[in-house]
Symmetry: C2
């Protein structure tokens, strides 16, 4: 069978995902139309959709049609979107641009942006606990997926990474600090996307473990590449102002290891990610290509 | 059997609940000890604990021991606490006092308060999806409880109430606006607490409906009383500055209906709440007393 080129595969997946994402959007009460607008503005604003595509592709690598998991792929994007909105707030990174557009609080004001983030985060769990999902996924499976996502987004993952990122004084060495920040702030949710995919595809314990390892490595690879792009990327491609890490004195891979070593490090994570895939019994072509996409992206 | 006086019953329930609440607190990674401190500061700071006690008491009214539901009673308090922290933020109500103590952002800074709120909200769903709960509650039951809570805290409840509350221009008449704000902002979570209790106690459809009606009425009663106390209460008892509603030109029951009519309105909600209980086949004494507590509280 001739394989569709990766880029077409990815675009098709994103289009299918985004169509479903719009369908999951809740009917918000008319008196608070501003909330509806503000949530849509960030949720339906495009982006790479990396986490949901990782979730869906993991299921397909186990030889299954992933359509049944679209609602959970959407749920993870609600969480990711909330995190971007809160991240951009004046008391956090105070960013004015995101994907080339004004950030949510620039457009709707700080208080609506705060509440839109809260609403997206909360609605994620509303989606994941919907009784209609029980036609295709067991109740225990849904609970496990909810648990994985909540743990990776909360104190054992994303939020702790955020706190570490904004803390002025850490007791750890810079290298350990950097690892802590990124494994929690970005890595946890990427790993969770793959674990939820693996769980829903009902892979065996050994494959689950290897896929988890794959998730950890591409999470690292993603973040190192992000740091590199902040040094080398253009505003046009990034959709945000490059050089902000240096301006904000953010701890980054290039600032600690230098640019060339960071590139090598990203490549080594990529290789380790592929090694994990080699140790599974799954059809891993698309996941390998996704890992390459994470490594080679220019925005 | 001689009944324990209500006040002793309530204190005992709160003590039991708070002991369990402390046990549910997650082991936050040491590098972000500040997050641990900030979350504990607000979650374990006392308060009426009304929502969890309503949940537990609803179960007992159905003749069951409510201990198995303690983790879910805790979960609802995580959500309530997050909402208070975000509510107090400078971009929202900009409050400096809560329960007589500095608010979270005064104590830990705005960015940590924001993230502590996010973490509490997220961890609520982590608690509710814990596999250890499956020993006592069915997976479908847990999913339904998660769904009720997420819907009542998100766009169909609390967050929409918040948005309505801060909006300068509403298309509705003042009276409808007030009803919208409070049924969403405060009412939804109080109703959810009772519905989750009813669900876990496995009451029949008719009792579920009546308990829901009870929840709606005491939610209203609670809010009217809150508005009245803002006019008549003392700072010492309230633990916050009275008169802030008038200062902030907040739409309140006394501002629309006058103080005396508001008191009558609160009393009428109380009566309707009791009527709902009369239509159940449950042992409703403690819920009746709780309704009285909501009506007659002075803080």
């Amino acid at each position: 069978m001739v394989q569709q080129p990766f880029i077409d595969y990815y675009k098709e997946k994103v289009a299918r995902f985004e169509a479903h994402l719009a369908e999951t959007f809740p009917d918000i009460p008319p008196p608070v139309a501003i909330l509806d607008e503000s949530m849509r503005y960030s949720l339906l604003a495009g982006g790479k959709r990396l986490r949901p595509i990782l979730l869906l592709t993991t299921i397909e690598c186990a030889g299954k049609n992933a359509d049944f998991a679209l609602p959970l792929a959407c749920a993870i994007e609600y969480i990711h979107t909330y995190s971007l909105i809160h991240d951009d707030l004046p008391c956090m990174d105070d960013d004015e641009l995101r994907r080339g557009q004004p950030t949510n609080h620039i457009k709707y004001g700080e208080e609506i942006a705060l509440l839109a983030g809260d609403a997206l985060l909360t609605h994620c769990f509303s989606l994941m606990s919907s009784s209609t999902l029980l036609e295709k996924i067991s109740a225990v499976g849904l609970l496990r997926a909810i648990h994985i996502l909540a743990e990776s987004a909360g104190v054992f993952g994303m939020v702790s990474g955020q706190v570490a990122d904004i803390q002025k004084y850490m007791t750890l060495e810079p290298e350990e600090t950097l690892t802590f920040i990124h494994s929690h702030k970005t890595g946890a949710l990427i790993k969770a996307a793959i674990q939820i995919g693996a769980l829903l595809a009902e892979v065996g314990d050994s494959d689950f473990e290897q896929l988890t390892g794959f998730g950890v490595e591409i999470g690292k690879c993603f973040q190192i590449q992000d740091d590199i792009l902040d040094v080398t990327g253009s505003q046009e491609l990034l959709g945000k102002t490059p050089g902000t890490d240096e301006k904000n004195k953010t701890l980054t891979y290039p600032s600690i290891f230098g640019l060339e070593n960071s590139k090598e490090l990203a490549n080594s994570c990529y290789q380790q990610a592929l090694d994990h895939l080699d140790r599974t019994g799954l059809q891993t072509l698309r996941l390998r290509e996704l890992a390459g996409f994470v490594l080679k992206r220019d925005h």
